[in-house]
Point group: C2
Chain length 409, copies 2
């Protein structure tokens, strides 16, 4: 009925991610237009270019007087003040030799003027005369199109928009943007041991903690959770739950039912799928994490074990969700320096939940709470993973280890 | 009417943050109950403790047989299989000497049993007899309360809940949690030069890009934006806009009107406030960033200049928003190594918008796009700030600089 773990072909973490990416790359991503003001952390689906030169007029970089440079053959020089251009105002005619116009930072530099002198180097002689004691070495004028010419790239296709990008689009009055739709996710937690919220605790049963974990992680990572169900260990119920999601999701995540016990049902499902991606990974916890593709939907079978579920989500599901938005994982892969000896050994690479601290010359990583994979106590506190390499020797303090810094932590 | 910048007392970035924190600490934070499933990134306002022992029953760590250890005087040993406990099931009586019960990982260990042998070391002899070839060195039983005793701390007051915390609360069926209310923010952008979306571009006018920036940054950083207005440079309009927000906000952010020009109105407002926090900071851009407290509301006057507005938000407003949620800033302060010489010098510390890259032994920082503070082009792309210290010498490549890694980038 299922492939026992022992008979499964195990692959590395990197190879597992590689096949996920290949599967995601085959999908055609749908797009939609959203309001720019609501586009933070959505990914732009087409190049967006400047709709006009920017600035659109010659802008003063300082507070002072717009003048004509050739007027300054000697200093101090007195000029006739013929106007005052506050922020937001235009000026109705070009200035001519001998004239100056009062101007604000960011203000419109009138035609004819080719220099703006800073207020600090000027003195009012009377109501309509200003004396200028020196010219600065630069003209203090930002020319039309100095920052962007019409047609220049503003935000490239596949850029994740952040508040800075919203600001940039707003400067061009671009009020909507084409973005990829949020990946749609269905979550099915399986387990006859699972209680529903509010039920009475009885021997053998536990409350569902992985379902809420997966749901919160999906939302945090930009997915739209279109369905969330909890079912008993029963192949028919699972098949029905999956059928109900037909065509409605990009990803289906199941939790539980991936191990070698009598009631494991995901392996069975994987066997009849269009393509098995993997059903065993060379890592602990979560070696039995399974992924497959069927009818254009990517399935992840996470372990029912809290630590393994948590680890599997960040390493594989987050990775897929991000690639479904044309982004790389937000888990920053780097090297961490172990802050205390780790004595346990394993045939598989062990991914420990830990905490990191950025110091002046390295990233310090260490354990946080127990690493029993059934123990929930460090899921809140963990801010990174680090990898204890397989083998039969202890891992000394100071070891430099593969590390992933977790996002939103 | 206003204090010219020259007459203002300048303070350091750290001192500015210190007075912000002092002001926030004086406020009484309001709390509310929210659903645990919707509590991600909310901050818990009371200690939450375990409502029961966890696990609530003796749980098997492996798939195998529950047995009585004292039965094993020699190996192999045959035992009578008297039952099968799948996940979620109870068992109705204690087992006695000579008996074994089939059990799943996570399953209920029946009374009487004190050891679980792994399936891999057993062999079925017939329908109701199992032969056991060895005992593992540990009992494979997680005792009641092994992870948490009733009353143990689950999440301490002032913890920012993440999906891991949601998972933990769900394991105890804690369906609501007391959290601090989101900081309420009112945003007022001032400037007679500002167009409204959809208006026609004319000389002297620009679209409002700082307002959308500030709004998106507030939302990203956990605030509730209760009001967003755009007004002309006019003291009366500003006073009216502020009056309209009376009692509705924890923070009011104004943008523009903080410089030394004729139309600057924030300085005036600050003068009549209960307490001026600062109106000049020893940094560029944004030296005129202003903050004050009036009637229990904290006001931030950000510079109208895009680069200065962006920098001021992260260094001061984000800092305040986080402290209003009993959290430290999410901008990770560290040391970065400059990847190219920087030749400009300044009397003030210059905060440059840059990009960082974590390498094996340092954090590489460098410029991204132009650093003209009027240029919007790098607000989207900047992932960090780094500080070019004041002085008249160039900053060589390899300089180790104060750096802030920006969140959500």
């Amino acid at each position: 009925m299922f492939t026992p773990v022992d008979e499964r072909n195990s692959i590395s973490i990197d190879d597992a991610r590689k096949v996920i990416k290949e599967s995601v790359d085959k999908l055609t991503l749908k797009t939609e237009n959203v309001k720019t003001s609501e586009a933070a952390h959505r990914v732009i689906a087409e190049d967006v270019t400047a709709t006009n030169d920017f600035p659109t007029f010659r802008r003063s970089g300082v507070d002072g007087y717009a003048v004509i440079k050739s007027d300054f053959t000697d200093f101090p020089k007195q000029l006739k003040v013929v106007g005052n251009i506050p922020a937001g105002a235009d000026f109705d005619r070009p200035i001519v030799s001998g004239e100056a116009v009062r101007i604000m930072t960011g203000g419109y530099v009138p035609d004819g003027a080719d220099w703006v002198v800073m207020l600090e180097t000027t003195k009012m002689i009377n109501d309509d005369t200003v004396e200028i004691s020196e010219l600065q070495h630069k003209d203090n004028i930002t020319p039309i199109g100095d920052y962007f010419k019409k047609g220049d790239m503003l935000l490239e296709k596949d850029t994740e928009i952040n508040p800075g990008g919203i600001s940039l689009l707003s400067a061009f009055d671009i009020q909507t943007v084409p973005v990829y739709k949020k990946p749609k996710v269905g979550i099915i937690t399986t387990g006859s041991e699972l209680l529903k919220p509010g039920e009475k605790i009885v021997n053998g049963k536990i409350f569902n903690s992985n379902g809420p974990l997966i749901k919160a992680l999906c939302i945090e990572n930009g997915a739209e959770v279109v369905s969330y169900t909890q079912i008993k260990d029963d192949s028919n119920l699972l098949k029905q739950a999956i059928e109900d999601l037909q065509g409605k999701t990009d990803i289906i995540i199941t939790d539980g039912g991936v191990s070698v016990g009598d009631y494991d049902i995901i392996a069975d499902l994987a066997k009849s799928a269009d393509r098995l991606l993997f059903n065993k990974i060379q890592m602990r916890p979560g070696s039995v994490t399974t992924a497959f593709v069927d009818k254009g939907t990517i399935y992840f079978g996470l372990s029912g074990n809290p630590g393994a579920c948590f680890t599997g989500f960040y390493l594989y599901v987050e990775y897929a969700l991000r690639h479904l938005q044309k982004q790389t994982s937000r888990c920053i892969e780097c090297l961490g320096t172990l802050n205390a000896e780790y004595t346990k050994t394993n045939d598989y690479d062990r991914i420990l939940r830990g905490k990191y601290k950025i110091t002046s010359d390295h990233i310090d990583v260490g354990r946080v709470g127990g690493d029993a994979s059934g123990n929930l106590n460090n899921l809140q506190r963990a801010t990174c993973f680090f990898e204890i390499p397989r083998g039969d020797s202890i891992t000394p303090k100071g070891s430099v280890l593969r590390t992933w810094l977790l996002p939103f932590k």
